[in-house]
């Protein structure tokens, strides 16, 4: 936890550098193994203890509500601003998912699922056109079954539409992970130039 927010020019540069460091959810072993080691260690340790009445502990990742929890937290060293939402469970932090949903799911599948009994969710936002195409239903089915066959347990696909676009345009920082797909191109909506965003909003309104 930091006692200052990323406000001055130097701090903003530092924030950008910190935020572009390797992050969980991109299928990069360098960071994923750190996450796996910490999680698996904690889960294994907690199972060694019994509850007050003699019962077994359940392993899981505490799932705070990202917004109110984030609102109470100071800036964090990975580059998150003071008050910004926090990442929950196995979902990549907002704005850090660079290699797309398949990579996010692959990172999550690196954790030994036998150690976890609850809260194992990977949440990804998709624009509705991803699944509206000719083979949309199949695509989603394949994505989920592939993830399960890798050992994954829970995936929450959020499929969104034009209204969300408008919201993302107004407050881009909140929607850094929104992925859109058009004519074979996938991109983060908020990274698209304004004109392009306008065009997409117009096209799907």
């Amino acid at each position: 936890m930091l006692f200052y927010n990323y406000e001055t020019k130097e701090q903003k540069i530092m924030q950008s550098i910190l935020f572009s460091a390797p992050k969980w959810g991109n299928d990069e072993d360098y960071v994923d193994i750190i996450a796996r080691d910490i999680l698996e260690f904690t889960l294994t340790e907690s199972e060694k203890y019994r509850t007050f009445s003699g019962g077994k502990q359940l392993g899981g990742i505490h799932q705070p509500h990202p917004v109110p929890t984030g609102a109470t937290l100071m800036a964090t060293p990975e580059g998150r601003n003071k008050g910004a939402p926090v990442a929950v469970t196995l979902t990549p932090e907002s704005g850090t998912m660079k290699n797309g949903p398949t990579a996010a799911l692959k990172s999550a599948s690196k954790i030994n699922n036998r150690l976890i009994q609850w809260n194992f969710c990977v949440m990804v936002n998709y624009f509705s056109s991803v699944f509206k195409g000719n083979d949309g239903k199949n695509l989603l089915k394949k994505l989920i079954t592939s993830y399960f066959s890798l050992g994954g347990l829970q995936h929450q696909p959020n499929v969104s539409d034009v209204e969300l676009f408008k919201a993302a345009q107004a407050e881009p920082l909140k929607y850094k992970d929104l992925i859109v797909r058009l004519w074979g191109v996938s991109a983060h909506f908020v990274d698209l130039p304004k004109e392009l965003q306008d065009e997409m909003i117009a096209r799907f309104s």
């Binding site: 020019k9 903003k12 398949t102 990579a103 509206k132 074979g184 990274d191 130039p193």
Partner: protein
């Protein structure tokens, strides 16, 4: 694959035109940190903390690309796989073929997205390892074709004809461009070209024909690359019109309006 042999006026992927790496600058991500030089050079993107300045296009070896592609193997499924696109990916057919060869060893489906303006040998080379061709046709009239893409379409048509006779699966894709080819005459002529190419075959090689209406999404990319777009129209092609034009092509036709585009 970066680099293209055509210069379609309406191109929505200008970053695919030049075969060379290009500097790209996205003003909206710039925090004016002052770490780059003026004017920026190719070493600057490394120093850019926000990614506003980036290099578009990197050289990779076939092995590096293959490693990257295999990472998602589990998600490809039985009918999915890898599509090579561009630019014109067949300008680098040696490279594409060597990667596809390895993909086939892994039982991964392969497709090539091409505009067909390459020597036929480049296509022929890929036949053994490619399952599906996404083949673009831009316009039927030679004058129009030359005016808007820089070349006439005779090579493209003759390549398509040869490809049809190999029995490979083909999906034709036609951009519908306002005031260029968005007329019943043009579309009928394109349909005749397709029919001509499949003559003496049972025609089953053409899986589908997709009409893709013009859009302006690529326009904003030009200035970021220091390029300018020569096609300026405020016009759109309506969904009704696209649907109507697609009927010319019969039961294999599909317009990307209804199901918005998974191609």
């Amino acid at each position: 694959m970066k680099g293209c042999s055509l210069r379609c006026a309406w191109c929505h992927n200008p970053e695919g035109l030049s075969p060379e790496p290009q500097l790209k600058f996205d003003k909206s991500n710039c925090i004016r940190c002052g770490r780059c030089s003026t004017p920026p050079d190719f070493s600057d993107p490394e120093r850019c903390p926000t990614g506003a300045l980036s290099v578009c296009g990197t050289k990779v070896t076939a092995k590096e690309l293959l490693t990257e592609l295999l990472r998602d193997k589990i998600f490809y499924g039985d009918d999915g796989g890898v599509t090579f696109s561009g630019g014109e990916c067949l300008l680098q057919s040696d490279f594409v073929t060597s990667v596809m060869k390895e993909l086939k060893k892994e039982n991964i489906g392969t497709a090539i997205d091409t505009a067909g303006f390459v020597p036929y040998e480049n296509i022929e080379q890929t036949l053994e390892y490619c399952d599906l061709y996404l083949y673009d046709l831009k316009a039927a009239g030679s004058v129009i074709h030359k005016k808007y893409t820089g070349h006439n379409n005779s090579l493209i048509v003759s390549n398509l004809e040869k490809l049809c006779h190999t029995g490979k699966k083909i999906r034709i894709r036609i951009p519908v461009i306002p005031d260029v080819n968005d007329s019943a005459e043009e579309m009928t002529a394109l349909n005749d070209i397709i029919r001509g190419c499949t003559k003496n075959t049972d025609g089953s090689c053409i899986e589908r024909i997709t009409l893709i209406p013009y859009h302006t999404l690529g326009k904003s990319k030009y200035p970021n690359l220091g390029m300018s777009c020569r096609f300026n129209t405020e016009k759109n092609v309506s969904p009704e019109k696209t649907r109507h034009l697609s009927e010319i092509f019969g039961n294999k036709a599909l317009s990307t309006i209804d199901d918005t585009v998974s191609d």
